[in-house]
Assembly symmetry: C2
Homo-oligomer: 304 residues x 2
């Protein structure tokens, strides 16, 4: 993150029907309903997109659901993409939102955080960090935290999401006025603060997912949890602006990964970029990343 | 469920190191760290177990984490097991605990509830029902509900889990004394009650996961949500007894699926069964199912 000088993370949630015609129209990859063709097209698109963004952003967030939709064929492609990202020097957040307790959680943690040691799969890399659900409490967080620490990786627990109906549950308040998401942050913060999970540079291996669309309600988390990385979805397509998102960064620029997905990877659909670069979807994507970096950087400067 | 006259569901969460020696010792399946061998052993064990239980229980719950641990090799095996279960006439609950919003939730719902129509994967069946997280609120439940209704299937949303630390969040109370799990039940109940999700016999396609270990706190849900199926984990190894669990059944015996996993599938480790059947793990398993059925039936009789 330091070397790329931006908190921007590019989210990959590839949908076949929105892939650029240049990829969808490929002789072998022109069938949305053929699992192999669709998976190849998605893999190709993501790989090319990552080659463009690798020199200019520190990390990608890969949304496993868009691969899981193609069952085990998709899952194989998901792990292959992680190796590609690693080769490109990108940090990888696996957006898997798994959540369970005890032995089941250990199994999920093994699948999604441990670089495989299984014969036949020993070259497979797992992401550098993943997202998880924390609804079951500490029992559901600790097995992931332990695996993350053992592998030198990270975990982001969902604390406050940015979707419209999130508040109905996450803003549920107790008699003292504490909201559920604050209680969730407290549970996460207690685990994150333990010495065994404290990584380098004063940050814990355990972070929080907090949406950028609720800045008033959530920026207090930044000051309250000094040792926490925040993964911030919602920048771009979901309606959070740069000023909202940048609140999660400390003055030195660290402390937040700000994710933009659709606004970047489908930039070639926007008239703004189409007019400038025509059918060159890669140039559209690259320009959208550059624009987002400038947008965040400007917001950061005005905050300081 | 009606024809098998029991609410008992057998949970399959197969761990290689606990498989019976007869399977682990098989020439081609005797290597825990070889992905193909381990997956074969687990698949073989689960298939044999299902053949035993199919005539005497209505459903199995397959925990995907224990397959996902073997990455895409495991996932292929998971779906193959669902087809086997279907051939045996079992209903299948996919214990996947996915949870996300919008388009991502649609992708998960497609992967886990829609029988595949993809070329190359068109024979693949998805489970009859799955478990999901509801922390993101209605936005995270509705895409799954819609897919379940379209496919004639079901969804169980985590409301109150049975693990020790669950209470820290799920019993979080507002100023009126309503606990978070009750609020979650309310969000689920509102969706479940919509006409488009009302299935046959007065039950909704949308159910709730409520642990058997907190009977005082949760049996009120049974009377409050008349049209809800409850999936009840915790019977057996996790410490809930038959009387606790049977509270979720209505007087006609419907309304709950009571799950036992480890206490059944690893019955051959228990002296009680070992003494009776020696190394015959299948007889141990069968007897454990019969005993559990009688236990639940006795509890049901004494309740009426």
């Amino acid at each position: 993150m330091q070397s790329k000088k931006t908190p921007l993370v590019i989210g990959l949630d590839p949908i076949y029907s929105r892939l650029p015609p240049a990829i969808r129209g490929h002789r072998q990859m022109n069938d949305e309903f053929d699992a192999a063709a669709a998976v190849d097209a998605i893999f190709d698109f993501c790989t090319q997109a990552m080659r463009i963004v690798a020199p200019i952003v520190p990390a990608v967030k890969i949304n496993i659901a868009f691969f899981e939709r193609y069952l085990w064929e998709g899952l194989e492609s998901y792990y292959a993409l992680i190796s590609e990202a690693d080769d490109l020097g990108l940090e990888i957040v696996g957006d898997v939102k798994r959540g369970d307790i005890g032995h089941t959680a250990e199994m999920y943690a093994t699948a999604h955080l441990q670089n495989s040691e299984l014969t036949g799969l020993e070259d497979v890399l797992a992401p550098d960090a993943i997202t998880i659900h924390g609804y079951t409490g500490a029992d559901g967080i600790e097995p992931f935290a332990k695996m993350a620490a053992a592998q030198g990786k990270g975990v982001f627990v969902l604390v406050r999401t940015s979707n419209p109906s999130a508040g109905a549950l996450q803003d549920f308040k107790d008699s003292s006025g504490q909201a559920l998401y604050e209680k969730m942050a407290q549970v996460v913060g207690e685990i994150a603060g333990r010495p065994e999970y404290m990584g380098e540079k004063g940050y814990s291996d355990i972070g929080m997912v907090v949406g950028g669309t609720t800045p008033e309600a959530t920026t207090s988390l930044r000051s309250k949890y000094d040792n926490i990385w925040f993964l911030v979805p919602g920048y771009g397509a979901q309606g959070a602006d740069a000023v909202d998102c940048i609140r999660f960064c400390k003055p030195d620029g660290t402390g937040a990964l700000i994710n933009a997905s659709r606004s970047i990877i489908y930039a070639y659909e926007k008239p703004k970029y189409k007019d400038q670069f025509g059918d060159d979807w890669k140039k559209c994507l690259e320009q959208a990343v550059v624009d987002a970096k400038i947008d965040l950087s400007t917001a950061m400067q005005s905050k300081l």
